[in-house]
Amino acid sequence: MSTRKDISSELSDISKTVAELPFKPVFTVPDGYFDEFPLKMMEKIRETEDLDVDSELEMISPLLASLNRKTPFTVPEGYFSQLEPQMEQAPAKVVVMHKTSRLRIWWAAAAITAVLGFFSWFYIINSNNNSEGLKAVSFSISAELPTLSETEISSYLEATPEPIQIEPISLAGVQEADLDAIMNEISESELQQFINENPTFQIENMN
């Protein structure tokens, strides 16, 4: 600990104004506060501690703590020795333990089903709205396509760097006889040329 003299000297070096301020306490405390505080503090500590039964009673009421704790009531002679066989003979009443809790479980299940149902319905409605939106866009493209000139389409295709994927041609529903007739009309050289020009071409549902 430093002395007041050292501190005053240090303070004078930093600021003469502050060093010359009166060293007077300004705050006050209620009368007797420091006399009572240790006792109050000890009481508070005892409250927070797990006191044994005797110490707790001694603290609350020394008079009660000094009394004999023996219960003054009496029971008929041999009462406790007879009680056990009587309890064994008496039919035990069956108590239904889960009646209320089962009902609660059903209520909870119903509530969960209702919530899930509501959100499923909400989700379906939203999905329908979204797919209708896509349909509308698709319809709008289909409607717009015939109105475009060939020049506009070819300039778009030239400006698009991505190679256009040729979708596999589905021949579902085409009769085998019809297919043979079509194939007969195409020469070997034409077929070879087509295959060379479209190496990724494939035919689905040939059967």
Partner: protein, 183 residues
């Protein structure tokens, strides 16, 4: 000041189960005033200082068994009191969602509301100037100016280097001087 047993004797009394309460009560009696005033200068009003002081001594009761004797009891107690005061001010700040500056203003307002407040008296002006200081400077000034604590002890309480504490004290004194001269 009454004569109290030295700290080692207090610790011995506390560690013996039959004299634990006696040792604790003597410790409270020995340090209550110093710790109270340290806390009061930080939180300003009596009710809050009383609450913080009680929390400090509850922590002392719970932690004294584990207290390492290589540290001084005095600095350990001051560290608990300082931390509890800071925690209290932090809680006040959170409760009202205000910044430290606002807490500082609120403390100044409490000071002005004190029944004994007299703006013409230099000692009250000094208290107002202290409340305007940043938290760390306020603590350092209080420990040095009022509690006459050495920088070495203070560095143990605040876990800060002595050099940094000297600088904080210097800044605090200069700010107080500026406040006194301009208000």
């Amino acid at each position: 000041m009454a004569n109290f047993p030295d700290d080692n004797e207090l610790l011995s009394l506390f560690r013996e189960s039959s004299t634990k309460e006696k040792g604790y009560t003597l410790l409270v009696k020995k340090y209550q005033e110093k710790l109270y005033w340290h806390i009061r200068r930080m939180v300003v009003d009596h009710e809050n200082a009383n609450d913080v002081l009680q929390n400090v001594f509850i922590k002392v009761w719970k932690g004294l068994d584990n207290f390492r004797e290589d540290a001084r009891l005095y600095t350990w107690l001051y560290r608990i009191a300082t931390n509890e005061s800071i925690t209290f001010l932090e809680q006040e700040k959170k409760k009202s969602s205000v910044s430290y500056d606002d807490v500082s203003s609120a403390l100044s307002e409490k000071l002005v509301a004190d029944k004994d407040f007299d703006a013409s008296k230099l000692e009250w002006k000094l208290q107002l100037a202290i409340q305007k200081l940043p938290e760390k400077q306020k603590i350092v000034f209080s420990l040095r100016y009022y509690d006459e604590m050495s920088y070495e002890e203070m560095s143990k309480v605040l876990e800060t280097s002595e050099g940094a504490l000297k600088a904080s004290y210097h800044h605090a004194v200069k700010k107080i001087e500026d406040f006194i001269l301009n208000h």
